[in-house]
């Protein structure tokens, strides 16, 4: 028995920070989620799998997903011709609404409803497989729905499809132990874009998204080809991402010039189809003119004119230390940080800004404070040297 486990296709994802790229590259990036999906379905046909599981967030924007729906319809049709079934659920991004999903998918496609239900099928090697799952019908689900999944009943292999986060209150929170208790053979998870195997016996798997969508979604992305033989489940990762986001750090010294930086960065851009986010460490050592060149994007523009396999996405300057700071006792800084930087004060800082949903949401991010303290330190460090 063979099947594919993919999730978070996020078709039609908008890409940001690409306006400086060539129109061609922009178009390719925008099409990359589709390209990755094509790869997914191509592999399904090539490997002659029994079925394909899509664990939610297939569309990025349900308000306008006709293109994606039509694309899927045609891809599903190919799978149908080959006798491959598709089992899919809707996630928090593409949660089901009325008027949604106006395109009729072919008969080989099963979309799970609002409550956990089970589908059974017989594989080519005669295995009876039970597949249970549910779709989001609202954006947030605070209830742990794992207990509502059906009990294992007379099947050779039991799969649970679930779009959720471990202990994530908004998205059907669950604990690994909840899943283990169910006695299923495979938990096909979706929602978390980072590929991870939470447990091996039984398998509890996040395949991650099939194409990195921003600078934080690093590493090659793809899906799992799952083979079950003699009760043993084996995972094979298949890359589908067309572009891979990567991060790199570059240590600089006072000797570095624009030219030396270009040379060093060029060397970092040696991998094809890699979108590199570069952090220049110890930027305080750089000459003020070099910093200006970087801040004016001139360095990136110069690099764009050079033939590099990889693509430079963005440069961040990190100011690591400040000799001036050393003259003031660290305890004052620490004490002052405690007093001056806290989430409540930040929220109260400006009501106009806090009324923006984007900013509110941003502030709610778990590592926001850490992130902003880092930025603030960088700002303080930069100020003392830069100006």
């Amino acid at each position: 028995m063979k099947f594919l486990h993919a999730a978070d296709l996020h078709l039609d994802t908008p890409f940001v920070g690409i306006s400086d790229f060539s129109k061609e590259l922009q178009a390719k990036l925008k099409a990359s989620t589709y390209e990755a999906a094509r790869k997914l379905f191509r592999v399904a046909l090539e490997k002659e799998v029994d079925f394909v599981i899509l664990a939610g967030d297939i569309f990025d924007d349900t308000d306008s997903s006709l293109k994606a729906q039509m694309f899927l319809k045609s891809e599903f049709e190919k799978l149908n011709q080959a006798g491959i079934k598709v089992l899919m659920i809707y996630g928090n991004h593409d949660y089901y609404r009325s008027n949604f999903s106006v395109i009729d998918f072919p008969d080989n496609v099963t979309i799970f409803g609002q409550n956990p239900t089970e589908e059974t099928l017989i594989t080519k090697d005669g295995q009876k497989v039970g597949i249970a799952g549910f779709s989001y019908y609202q954006q947030h689900i605070s209830k742990n729905l794992v207990q509502d999944y059906p009990e294992r009943n007379g099947v050779d292999y039991q799969i649970g499809v679930l779009h959720a986060g471990v202990g994530d209150d908004n998205y059907a929170p669950f604990k690994i132990n909840d899943l283990l208790k169910k006695g299923y053979d495979y938990w096909a998870l979706g929602h978390i874009h980072k590929r991870q195997i939470l447990n091996e016996r039984p398998m509890i798997v996040y395949p991650g998204d099939i194409q990195g969508r921003n600078q934080n979604e690093t590493t090659p992305k793809g899906f799992y080809l799952v083979s079950v033989e003699n009760g043993t489940t084996q995972l094979e990762f298949v890359q589908s991402s067309i572009y891979t986001w990567e991060k790199a750090n570059l240590n600089v010294t006072t000797d570095d010039t624009v030219d030396s930086l270009i040379e060093k960065i060029q060397q970092l851009l040696n991998k094809p189809n890699v979108l590199l986010t570069l952090t220049i460490e110890n930027a305080q050592y750089l000459d003020a003119d070099v910093v200006k060149t970087i801040n004016r994007n001139e360095l990136e523009q110069q690099l764009q004119t050079l033939a590099t396999s990889g693509i430079l996405y963005k440069i961040y300057l990190k100011y690591n230390s400040n000799p001036q700071l050393a003259t003031i006792d660290q305890k004052y800084w620490d004490e002052a940080e405690q007093k001056s930087i806290n989430l409540d004060d930040i929220k109260d800082l400006d009501s106009r800004l806090y009324s923006s949903d984007v900013i509110r949401e941003h502030i709610k991010q778990p590592d926001f404070l850490k992130h902003i303290v880092g930025l603030t330190k960088n700002t303080i460090n930069q100020k003392y040297t830069g100006e």
């Binding site: 997903s65 006709l66 008027n99 106006v102 940080e337 800004l353 303080i380």
Partner: protein
């Protein structure tokens, strides 16, 4: 540090002067121009340096006019009772400084022990109170105060504060609370716009579903309509077809089936009848041609006539040419006569003297009148005589006689002439002349005319003979005519005398008749047989015809033919009806539903109208489908929407980036200030506490709170009324300023121990206020030395604290 002594070598109006100061407070009292301010400036100059001789500070130079020495000494007593002496004299820059600690000279750098990190400006700003400084309160703000107080403490605190300020400013370049144009604000606005724009797009799937349903609905409507249209079109075609056939139909309707005469002449009978009739007519025609060969009565009569007079007629036939000759002679003579007549006329014309009476003269007569003999060659009568004799020989009987006579006559005439020639000699003498008609002529003329007269006489003679000849022939011809008339050869009506021709004609015809009569005679018997056969056949045919006619019980052949004609006509009608019916086919029944053409046209018009309506609807629906398909295309093509989504995503990132930048800068500024605040042990709040106390004291507890709001100072009265600094009286404002300043100085007293210099700052105060000020000064002077110069003598102060300057030093 307490200033205990000032030793002036030379400074402005002061030369070689010493002042001792109380360690808590010292009031220096003197009238105007007593040198009070100069003394305060001396203290500042020694501590921080002389004003340079250049620029605006020039007038602050106090180089003495009466002494060569510029400068002096200040002696401070430290907390440990050690003495610090600062000496500054004229020199490079701000003067030459010498520092002593307990009489020991120490490095200049140790001046910090006394003035800390203060500059002259700092000192003037914080420790010096004069009417110039006091009004700076209106520009005072919290940050400035905070910065001032913090800048007193901590290493590099000033730079840190500048950095913090810079970051605040920098943050405000990104976002400002009430700003309009800052990028973060712009991005937030852009987001609102984009969301609005996005909201304008209908939900793609809803629209898709709607358009799809509409399309389906419209398609159904279209199909239904098309079906109807097709039906109506067919109906229209049918009716148009009927319309086209109407004419034929009309004809058919009029062509009544002929009345039922059951007895039909069979084709066989008709054929037979026709054949018989043909034969009959042929036979009848043959009879007619035979009859043509028969002689008619006239011809028969001619034949009879001939047979009766055969001998005579044959003779006449043979004499045909005799007759012709006669005619010829007569005609010839006639023409000769005519010729002679002409000659006579010509003669008269040529000889006017000639007259009819004249007779030729005989030769004797001539000789008589003229001896000369002229042989008159008059041989004409001889010639005629000859010719006539010849003719008499050659011509036929009757004519022979005539010619013979002529010949004799001519001979006689010749003789006569020749005899008479001799007469006619003398004119008058000769009776013969008048006798012979020459009375009027002379002899010569008579002689000359003789030939002509002879000629005339000859002509006359010829004329006479010709006339006689013609007459004789005419008599002959008349005899012939009578014979011809008698024999019927000539018709009585014939008036001409061309008998030869008539005879010829007659006999030609007679010959033909004779021939025919012979032929008839010959075939008489054969013809009889044929005629008999024919008659028999005629009878047979007539019998057959009557039989056929009888068969159909008809009286006559005419009736039979009539019957057949009407039968053929009927057949044609029947055929026409048959054809019409075949042509109309199934339409006949439909056509029969209409009583007239108008009904049909009415129906057709209704159908046409219906078709037009349906066609219009068809077109409209077709347009709708087209438009819906286009809409569907637009629904599917969501590039516009995708662009907004992309922009929104980018905008979100931009907002977060700007926000992060703004926040990190704002926080950095806060962090630095907080750090400095901590490092400076919270001087600022302490200072504000003190200022509040002082202000309450100065205002007799009228005001109980000092507050900064948006960097504007406000105060609250005991009754909690809020007053903006601008709303306060000048005296109260000064009180507020002094409170803040004194609080500031006392707060940093542990760091900077310099005397507070007050230059007659309270001149406008009333007694109560002045007392309050002195109360405050006494209070703070316990920790901070105050040197107070004034032009008005203070009351209620111990005399040992008052230094009176002399009017003229």
């Amino acid at each position: 540090m307490k200033l205990v002594k000032a030793k002036i070598y030379g400074f402005g109006k002061w030369v070689d002067q010493e002042f001792d100061f109380q360690q808590d407070y010292q009031v220096i009292f003197g009238s105007n121009e007593a040198g009070k301010t100069t003394l305060l400036n001396f203290i500042k100059s020694i501590l921080f340096g002389f004003a340079s001789a250049r620029g605006d500070n020039k007038y602050l130079q106090y180089k003495p006019k009466t002494s060569s020495q510029y400068g002096g000494e200040l002696v401070f007593k430290a907390d440990d009772n050690s003495n610090w002496t600062i000496r500054r004299v004229d020199g490079k820059g701000d003067g030459e400084l010498t520092l002593f600690h307990d009489e020991q000279q120490v490095p200049e750098a140790l001046l910090k022990e006394i003035i800390g990190s203060f500059t002259k400006d700092d000192f003037e700003h914080t420790h010096v109170f004069d009417d110039k400084n006091i009004f700076s309160i209106y520009g005072l703000d919290e940050n400035q105060l905070e910065t001032e107080i913090m800048s007193v403490d901590a290493v590099g605190s000033k730079e840190w504060l500048a950095t913090a300020d810079h970051m605040t400013a920098s943050a405000e370049n990104i976002y400002k609370r009430r700003g309009q144009k800052q990028p973060l604000i712009a991005k937030l606005k852009e987001r609102d716009d984009l969301i609005e724009e996005k909201a304008e797009f209908e939900n793609q799937q809803v629209v898709y579903q709607k358009v799809k349903n509409q399309t389906q609905q419209t398609q159904i409507e279209f199909d239904d309509n098309a079906k109807l249209l097709k039906q109506v079109s067919e109906q229209e075609n049918l009716l148009r077809n009927l319309d086209k056939k109407w004419e034929r139909f009309e004809k058919l309707r009029k062509n009544k089936q002929p009345a039922g005469n059951n007895v039909q002449i069979s084709n066989e009978d008709w054929e037979k009848f026709l054949t018989d009739n043909q034969e009959l007519s042929t036979l009848q025609e043959t009879t007619t041609t035979n009859r043509v060969a028969q002689l008619n009565n006239v011809e028969k009569q001619m034949l009879i006539n001939y047979k009766a007079n055969q001998k005579r007629m044959d003779y006449i036939r043979n004499q045909k040419f005799e007759l012709q000759n006669l005619q010829f002679h007569r005609d010839d003579m006639k023409s000769k006569l005519l010729k002679v007549d002409t000659q006579v006329d010509q003669l008269f014309k040529n000889n006017p003297q000639l007259s009819e009476d004249m007779r030729p003269l005989s030769s004797e007569e001539l000789d008589q009148i003229n001896p000369q003999q002229h042989v008159n060659n008059n041989n004409l009568p001889l010639l005629i005589c000859g010719i006539a004799a010849i003719l008499a020989v050659v011509t036929g009987n009757p004519l022979k006689v005539i010619f013979a006579i002529v010949a004799i006559g001519c001979g006689g005439w010749y003789f006569y002439q020749s005899r008479n020639l001799k007469s006619n000699q003398k004119l008058t003498n000769y009776a013969f002349l008048s006798q012979k008609g020459y009375q009027t002529l002379n002899r010569e003329s008579i002689v000359n005319i003789q030939s002509t007269v002879i000629q005339l006489a000859n002509y006359r003679s010829t004329q006479n003979s010709l006339s006689d000849g013609i007459k004789a022939i005419e008599v002959d011809l008349n005899k012939w005519r009578n014979i011809l008339l008698e024999l019927n050869i000539l018709d009585k009506s014939y008036k001409n005398d061309n008998y030869n021709e008539q005879i010829e004609k007659y006999f030609t015809r007679l010959d033909q008749i004779k021939a025919r009569a012979d032929l008839n005679e010959q075939s008489q018997s054969e013809t009889q047989v044929i005629t008999d056969n024919r008659n028999q056949r005629l009878q047979e045919i007539n019998a057959e015809i009557s039989q056929i006619v009888d068969k159909y019980r008809l009286v006559s052949v005419e009736q039979f033919v009539q019957m057949h004609t009407s039968q053929v006509k009927n057949q044609m009608v029947i055929n026409q009806i048959k054809q019409d019916k075949a042509f109309l086919g199934d339409d006949l029944k439909r056509l029969q539903q209409y009583s007239n053409h108008d009904e049909l046209i009415k129906d057709l018009q209704q159908v046409v109208t219906r078709k037009e309506t349906l066609t219009d609807k068809n077109n409209e629906l077709s347009r709708q489908i087209g438009s819906l398909k286009e809409q569907m295309q637009q629904v599917l093509d969501n590039t516009q929407y995708q662009r907004v989504v992309d922009q929104l995503a980018q905008n979100k990132v931009d907002i977060i980036e700007y926000y992060d930048e703004w926040l990190s800068k704002t926080l950095a500024s806060r962090w630095i200030r907080e750090m400095l605040n901590i490092a400076t042990e919270n001087r600022y709040p302490k200072m504000m506490q003190k200022a509040t106390q002082y202000f309450a004291l100065l205002t007799n507890n009228n005001y109980v709170k000092i507050d900064f709001h948006d960097n504007d100072i406000a105060v609250f009265s005991q009754s909690k009324n809020r007053f903006d600094v601008h709303e306060l009286s000048q005296a109260t404002t000064v009180q507020l300023y002094i409170s803040l300043r004194l609080a500031f100085v006392t707060e940093i007293a542990d760091l900077i121990k310099l005397p507070i210099l007050i230059d007659d700052a309270f001149v406008d105060f009333d007694i109560s206020r002045t007392e309050n000020v002195f109360e405050l000064i006494q209070k703070i002077a316990k920790d901070n030395q105050v040197i107070y110069v004034t032009a008005s003598e203070p009351r209620l102060l111990p005399q040992d604290h008052i230094l009176k300057l002399k009017e003229e030093a």
